[in-house]
Amino acid sequence: SSWLPQLVQFRGSHWQTSLLAFKASLPMRVQPKKKKKVDIKREQAQKDRMKKKIRKLEKAAPEMIPIEDFITPPKYSDSSRVRSLPPLSFEETERRVLLMKKWSLYKQKQDEAEKKAIQTLVAAQQEALKELRLESEELYQAAIRRDDGLFPFERDGPSYTPPLPGYDPPEGKCIDITKVYTQ
C-alpha cells in the first residue's frame, strides 16, 4: 500500500503542473492579485510611447492637398489617343497670322478706350465731390463714407439669346462628386 500515496503525490504534482501550465497558457485578462506598481509602470510606459508617436506625427510636415486640375490622369497620355491631322497649308498659316494681327490691334483699341473711359469717369467723380464739398461739408462726409453693402457685388450677365418665355427645362439630379481633402 505504499503506491497509493505515491500515486496521490504524483497526481498532485502532475495536476499541479498541468494546472499551472493551463493557467499560464490562457490569455490573462483578469489579474486580480498582481502588484499595483507593475500595472502603473506598464500603463505609463504605454502612454509615453503613444505620446511620442503623436509628437512625431505632428512634427512631420502636413501633406500637400493635390490640386486635381493640374494632374492629368494617366489614361489621357496614351499614344493611341493622338490625332493624325494633315499639315497646315501656307494660306492657312498666312490667314492666321493676319487674323492675329488684326485681333491684337482691335484689342489694343478696345483697351485704350476702356482706360480713357475710366479716367473720365474718375475725373467727373472728383469734380462732383469737390463741388459737393463746397456746398456742404456734411453731405460730403456722407458721400465719402464706405458702402458696405456694395461688395461682394454679384450680377448675372446677359446670355447670348434672351430667355424663352414658358421654357420648361428638363429635370435631373445633380450629384456632386468632387473629392474633399482634409489636412
Binding site: 489621357y76 493611341s80 489617343r81 493622338v82 490625332r83 491631322l85 473711359a117 473720365t120 469717369l121 475725373a123 467727373a124 467723380q125 469734380e127 462732383a128 465731390l129 463741388e131 459737393l132 456746398e135 453731405l139 456722407a142 458721400a143 465719402i144 463714407r145 464706405r146 458702402d147 456694395l150 457685388f153 450680377r155 446677359p158 447670348y160 439669346t161 434672351p162 430667355p163 424663352l164 418665355p165
Partner: protein, 206 residues
C-alpha cells in the same frame, strides 16, 4: 471643335472602334451571322445623330425683339445687348424737359437717399436697384434764368448717382407721363447739349 491641340476623347475612340468593327463585319459576313441580328447595340454614331436632331428642333428666342423692330422706346425689352437709361419728362420752371429722373434735395437727408426717393417716385416703391456707392458720379451746374434768381439761389447743382436695376418686370411701376429707356447714343436726341456733355462723361457704354 478644337482639332489641333487635342487628343481623342472617349466618345471619339468609341466611335472609331465601332467603325472598325462594322468594317470587319462587312468583310467577313459569314462569321458574324449569329451575333449581328440578335444584338441591338446603341452605336456612337446613332447617339450623335440623335443629338443633332435635338439641336435642330430647339429654337432660341430671337435677339432682336419686337420692341426693337417697332422702335418702341418705352419697353425694357429693347437693345438687349446694350445698357439702357431711364429718361423722364419733367417740368422745371416753365419748360418741360427730358431729364434723368431727379428730385430736389431736402435738408436732413443724404444725397443717396434723395436719389432713392427720386427712383421710388418714378418707378414705384418695390423696385430693387443696387446703388453703386455713396458718392455722386457726375455733376451738372446751371444758373437759373434772371427772372427767378434771388440772392441765395443763383443756380442749382444736380448730382448724379448710378444704380443697377435688378428686377426685370416693371409691371408695378406707376410711371406717369412720358418715360423712355434709351441707350447712350440716343440720349443726344433728347437732352440739351450742356447737360448731355456732362452726363456723357460718367456713363459707360459697351
Amino acid at each position: 471643335i478644337e482639332l489641333e491641340r487635342s487628343h481623342y476623347s472617349d466618345h471619339e475612340i468609341r466611335k472609331l472602334e465601332e467603325e472598325e468593327q462594322l468594317k470587319r463585319r462587312k468583310e467577313s459576313m459569314h462569321d458574324d451571322d449569329d451575333e449581328a441580328p440578335g444584338k441591338t447595340v446603341v452605336m456612337a454614331q446613332d447617339l450623335e445623330e440623335k443629338w443633332e436632331q435635338k439641336l435642330l428642333r430647339f429654337k432660341a428666342a430671337p435677339r432682336i425683339t419686337d420692341a426693337d423692330k417697332n422702335d418702341i422706346r418705352t419697353s425694357l425689352n429693347r437693345k438687349l445687348d446694350r445698357n439702357l437709361m431711364l429718361l423722364v419728362k419733367q417740368k422745371i420752371g416753365n419748360q418741360e424737359l427730358w431729364l434723368l429722373p431727379q428730385a430736389e434735395w431736402q435738408p436732413g437727408e443724404t444725397l443717396r437717399s434723395t436719389a432713392e426717393r427720386a427712383m421710388s417716385t418714378f418707378l414705384g416703391d418695390h423696385i430693387q436697384a443696387k446703388f453703386l456707392g455713396n458718392a455722386p458720379y457726375g455733376l451738372y451746374k446751371y444758373k437759373f434764368p434772371r427772372a427767378i434768381r434771388t440772392e441765395d439761389n443763383v443756380g442749382a447743382k444736380v448730382f448724379f448717382f448710378k444704380a443697377f436695376l435688378q428686377s426685370n418686370d416693371l409691371s408695378q411701376a406707376e410711371l406717369k407721363e412720358d418715360y423712355l429707356w434709351v441707350t447712350k447714343d440716343e440720349l443726344g436726341g433728347y437732352l440739351n447739349s450742356e447737360y448731355l456733355k456732362k452726363v456723357n462723361r460718367f456713363l459707360l457704354d459697351l
